[in-house]
């Protein structure tokens, strides 16, 4: 038990240090580009691209897709897509340095991998819908929004975490 505790503590950065560096990165991002960080926007671009390639007329008729389709320009040609590529590279490198690269399913010992994956899928679907409705996910709306004191950012953050605490009880078996 003691050994495991040691592991817990030393694998990752001190959260305050991580937060501090992340804060500096947000400042740099705003300073350079005038916009914040984001993540789910890249996936949206991916979805739009796929739908547009598979069923072009359908995509153009849909009000939501058509917002992101520009004449002669791929929806993938987007700031956030490039940023997401960077995220993948950066996380991969960090994982490689600390020896965390491993194909596995992480879950509480009380549940099976299968159950974990099913819940991950459900959570992903919900998060995908929610991020579209709120026009931003935790990084885009809440984190970057809070850095510029955006009202929407604070509301989104409060809604996510408030609901999170409210429903935490029902999902306790998955995590504890």
């Amino acid at each position: 038990m003691v050994e495991k505790k040691q592991l817990n503590r030393h694998v990752y950065w001190n959260p305050y240090f991580g937060g501090f560096v992340l804060g500096l990165l947000i400042i740099l991002t705003f300073y350079l580009t005038g916009r914040g960080l984001g993540a789910s926007g890249a996936l949206k671009s991916g979805v739009v691209t796929v739908v547009h390639t598979v069923a072009p007329t359908h995509a153009e008729n849909n009000v939501y897709y058509s917002k992101f389709i520009k004449e002669g320009e791929s929806p993938m040609n987007n700031w956030l897509v490039f940023e997401a590529i960077g995220v993948l590279l950066g996380a991969f490198l960090s994982g490689a340095f600390t020896g965390r690269l491993k194909l596995k399913v992480q879950h509480s010992p009380k549940i099976t991998s299968r159950r974990r994956l099913v819940f991950a899928l459900i959570g992903g679907v919900l998060f995908g819908i929610g991020a579209q409705v709120a026009r931003g996910c935790t990084s885009g709306a809440a984190l970057s929004g809070m850095a510029v004191l955006s009202t929407g950012g604070f509301i989104t953050m409060l809604a996510i975490f408030g609901t999170g605490y409210a429903v935490a009880y029902f999902f306790r078996k998955n995590w504890i």
Binding site: N14, F17, G34, G36, A39, S40
Partner: protein, 207 residues
């Protein structure tokens, strides 16, 4: 010991952050002159037109109420100027002595009346002063010139069309001059102007 290293890392970075901010604040100089009025307010004042004085309006004021300011160059000023006017060329308005003078005028409730070669000339100085927050500045709507080397001031009709343009054009059209050769150029294609977005683009979506 590992714990110690971590402490160093975070403490050092935090202290550095504090240091950078402190140094930046200490070395920071406030801009000396700052525009008080934004462009929106200035535009409203411009449209209101009550910053323009004519010669007769000037005569009706007592001389203790205003200070005439010649905003032309010193060279022009020495050649001739309105009596009692002092010389501050547009170029020198921001100099501290002159700014103080305008401050004094505000304090003593005097109007700073600007004039130059023509109202257009005075307008530049006026717009500068107004945006700096000197609401007591006015433009004297005059032209100055020299007749037989004598300094002359005359009223200027501001933005008045010299002729009735439409009428003149009508007349000019119907009275053909000389040959009418290459003039058969009746319908110009309608110019459709599509402006690409300005370079200063608005930063877009976060997430």
């Amino acid at each position: 010991m590992k714990e110690l290293e971590k402490t160093k890392r975070i403490s050092i970075s935090a202290v550095l952050f504090l240091l950078i901010v402190t140094i930046a604040i200490l070395t920071f100089e406030k801009p000396e002159n700052v525009f008080e009025k934004n462009t929106e307010a200035t535009l409203q004042e411009i449209v209101s037109n009550n910053y323009i004085l004519t010669l007769s309006e000037l005569d009706s004021k007592e001389s203790s109420q205003y200070q005439l300011i010649d905003i032309r160059s010193n060279f022009e000023y020495t050649k001739g100027h309105i009596n009692d006017a002092i010389n501050i060329s547009t170029h020198d308005i921001l100099e501290s002595g002159n700014i103080e003078l305008f401050d004094e005028l505000v304090e003593s409730n005097k109007i700073a009346i600007l004039y130059g070669e023509d109202p257009n000339d005075a307008n530049r100085a006026w717009m500068l002063l107004y945006q700096l927050g000197y609401e007591n500045a006015k433009i004297l709507c005059v032209e100055t010139n020299y007749i037989d080397n004598k300094f002359q001031v005359s009223n200027h009709a501001l933005e008045k069309p010299a002729v009735n343009y439409a009428q003149v054009m009508q007349l000019a059209k119907s009275a053909p001059t000389e040959t009418k050769k290459a003039v058969t150029k009746p319908k110009k294609p309608k110019k459709v102007i599509t402006l690409p977005k300005k370079k200063k683009r608005v930063p877009e979506g976060g997430c």
